[in-house]
């Protein structure tokens, strides 16, 4: 007979790696069986504790709405104002850590072994990590943030270009405009991507090179040893599930509100809870379809479609807006970012509380609480890259794309505000009154073909939510299955539906504010988790063949 081994599609040999020798068998703590017609294979106790605690939280937020709203209304500003130095300082450490890895000899370590080959092309890989990482935020904040920082939040005490009566102060314009872009790019550039890169690298390294299950606890093996298979590890994984599910449900809720605002702006659809419930149901339905099509047929495909539409919208705004000025803004934004990154990242002795606590500390907590989800997703699609290639692609390229996006969307919006303050819809919706979901549509209104571009923007918002929801469900399913990526399909259907249900229940019951505070609350312990992860990565890389 023919030698079957010769005709099969075995991947390239994995090459040398330094596997961790543990007696723990992946899935040994799992409960496997049938629930009626559905098979299940879940980690005990991570699955049950996570699911039940989330249900308990939803009941609390609904049963005692006033108490919950008071507690969480106090919790969020208290966390960001008390621990701002900790969030800012930690994010700086993550950036420095990543930059050191790029130039250090450990940059040559290949994820998956010395001979591993990348599973995805650069385009597919980049599309997925970008769509999961921050796609939707760019839609929501691309116009809002540059204009807000220019005129209202006054980062580093930069004076506003408008006086209290809304009159333009020409001598303040140049610096305020520059700071508006730099302060926004700071939130979307190196720092968030360094946070994601640390988590993703830790997961990829300890899974592909060390042979541990693809779950957050594995990164702590060098610190806790065999104890990570007990409650120490359970707590880390449960925290990761909370952060991911709360983050996704919050986004679904707010995303539905933005899509509703857009539909109202373009088609006059009324803004109410029923429309938003229909939107969440539709988004969850498409996400379910995508999740059932799998990583390659669903998530990757949708991410690539998303990238294509986003690129088209970017090009349109670039050429329909003041093109030359946008390019100048891009250059100036980058320069201002380079010039101001150190004072902006300084964690102590600052007086710009509104910007530092209200935005930066909030963002860092937000990115950190999202990092288990985005990090694990990036890890899963990054096998075969070297550490250097990985960090450059996860840190520098997305940062540059964000700079370009902010320069184009923010630059056009700032231009509209400065050149015609009284007629600018952006000024009316961001500076005169605060109406975030409408800011993007207000900017598009000032360009030609706004009825078409607004529809494209609504579609993009929805598809970005679908890609977050489907990749999020995959990640939660993997964590709650103890690192198994081949758990029965009904489980991911359960998580995708559960996310949608939590978002709907809280939207109707009015608990989305509480949910947002929970996301920030999980960000604090996770910052510590990430700092320890840097040490674990260092220890793990040291033993790897290069």
């Amino acid at each position: 007979m023919a030698e079957p081994e010769e005709i099969q599609g075995i991947p390239a040999p994995e090459g040398d790696t330094q596997l961790i020798d543990t007696d723990y068998e992946i899935g040994q703590d799992n409960l496997e069986g049938q629930l009626g017609p559905f098979g299940f294979d879940v980690h005990n106790p991570v699955f049950m504790v996570s699911a039940l605690t989330i249900v308990a939280f939803v009941f609390y937020a609904l049963a005692l709405p006033e108490q919950a709203s008071a507690v969480f209304g106090w919790l969020r500003p208290w966390l960001t104002s008390t621990f701002d130095w900790f969030f800012l300082g930690s994010a700086d450490i993550f950036v420095i850590f990543c930059l050191i890895l790029i130039v250090s000899p450990w940059g040559a370590v290949r994820l998956g072994g010395t001979d591993a080959e990348p599973d995805y092309t650069y385009v597919g890989w980049f599309a997925m990590l970008f769509a999961a990482g921050m796609g939707i935020g760019l839609m929501f904040f691309g116009v809002l943030e540059p204009v807000y920082h220019m005129a209202i939040s006054q980062p580093l005490g930069t004076p506003s270009p408008f006086d209290a009566d809304g009159n333009l102060i020409p001598e303040n314009v140049a610096r305020a405009k520059e700071m508006g872009l730099a302060a926004t790019i700071y939130h979307w550039g190196l720092h968030p991507w360094a946070i994601y890169a640390v988590v993703a690298l830790a997961l990829a390294l300890f899974s592909y090179n060390k042979g541990l299950p693809l779950t957050i606890r594995s990164a702590f093996y060098p610190i806790f040893g065999e104890r990570i298979w007990g409650w120490t590890g359970h707590i880390i994984d449960i925290l990761a599930v909370f952060a991911t599910l709360f983050g996704l449900a919050t986004s679904l809720g707010f995303g539905a509100q933005q899509a509703n605002a857009g539909l109202n702006h373009v088609f006059g659809v009324p803004i109410n809870t029923s429309v938003q419930v229909v939107l969440i149901t539709a988004i969850t339905g498409v996400a379910l379809f995508s999740v059932l099509r799998g990583l390659d047929g669903g998530v990757k495909l949708l991410s690539e479609i998303n990238m294509g539409i986003a690129a088209l919208l970017l090009l349109f705004v670039l050429f329909a807006g003041p093109t030359l000025m946008i390019f100048t803004d891009f250059g100036q934004g980058l320069l201002a970012y380079a010039k101001d990154i150190i004072p902006l990242s300084n964690p102590i002795g600052r007086t710009d509380d509104s910007y530092r606590d209200g935005w930066t500390a909030f963002y860092w907590a937000w990115w950190i609480s999202w990092s288990p989800f985005v990090g694990m997703f990036i890890a899963r699609v990054s096998r075969g890259r070297t550490v250097r290639e990985f960090i450059i692609c996860v840190l520098l390229i997305p940062s540059l794309v964000c700079v370009l996006w902010m320069a184009v969307f923010g630059g056009v919006a700032i231009d509209q505000v400065i050149s015609d303050p009284s007629g600018s819809l952006v000024k009316a919706n961001v500076i005169d009154s605060y109406n975030p979901p409408l800011s993007l549509f207000a900017m598009l209104e000032g360009l030609p073909l706004s009825s078409i571009t607004s529809v494209i923007a609504i579609v993009l918002v929805i598809v970005f939510f679908v890609t977050s929801s489907d990749s999020g469900s995959l990640v939660i399913d993997t964590i709650t299955a103890g690192g198994k990526v081949d758990a029965p399909v009904p489980q991911r259907v359960f998580w995708a539906t559960f996310e949608g249900a939590v978002a709907i229940v809280l939207l109707v019951g009015g608990g989305l504010g509480a949910l947002q505070a929970m996301v920030i609350s999980t960000g604090l312990p996770f910052t510590l988790v990430l700092l320890v992860m840097c040490w674990a990565i260092f220890k793990g890389l040291r033993s790897e063949p290069r």
Partner: protein
């Protein structure tokens, strides 16, 4: 009548394949056919190996133990999939064609309500493969 029999195998649940394996042995010896055990894994570590290489070694061991036990010629074919739970059907169909299989013998569960929503792997293969498919209820 049959020259090459493909047998998809889930190494975690070999205990549930008793009937299917006896039928494979019977058919392989009756038709003097080659048997190829096909297993699917992910690049991520799992209970059957830290990496695909370890999984492949297990699959080969399984194939040779079966060959020895029942005196037929058996080989192993490993498939590495990014999302095994979903991509299994597609990869099995591709393997069926690439290996030149003329018969697939596969263990399958008793039909239940979920089959109305998504077909069993065996059902999918029977619907789309060119080769004959023999589904053995567990």
């Amino acid at each position: 009548m049959f020259n090459k029999i493909m047998v998809p195998v889930d190494l975690r649940h070999v205990d549930k394949m008793g009937k299917a394996l006896s039928i494979v042995a019977e058919l392989a010896t009756t038709h003097d056919a080659d048997v190829i055990f096909v297993g699917i894994t992910s690049p991520e570590p799992n209970a059957l190996g830290h990496n695909p290489k370890e999984y492949e070694a297990r699959l080969k061991d399984f194939a040779s133990s079966k060959a020895e036990e029942t005196r037929y010629r058996a080989g192993a074919h490993m498939i590495v999939a990014h999302d095994p739970a979903i991509d299994l059907d597609k990869h099995l169909l591709e393997a069926c064609e690439a290996l030149g299989t003329d018969l697939v013998v596969m263990a399958t569960h008793l039909p239940n309500v979920t089959d109305y929503f998504w077909a069993s792997h065996g059902g999918h293969l029977a619907t789309h493969a060119d080769a004959s498919v023999f589904l053995v209820r567990g």
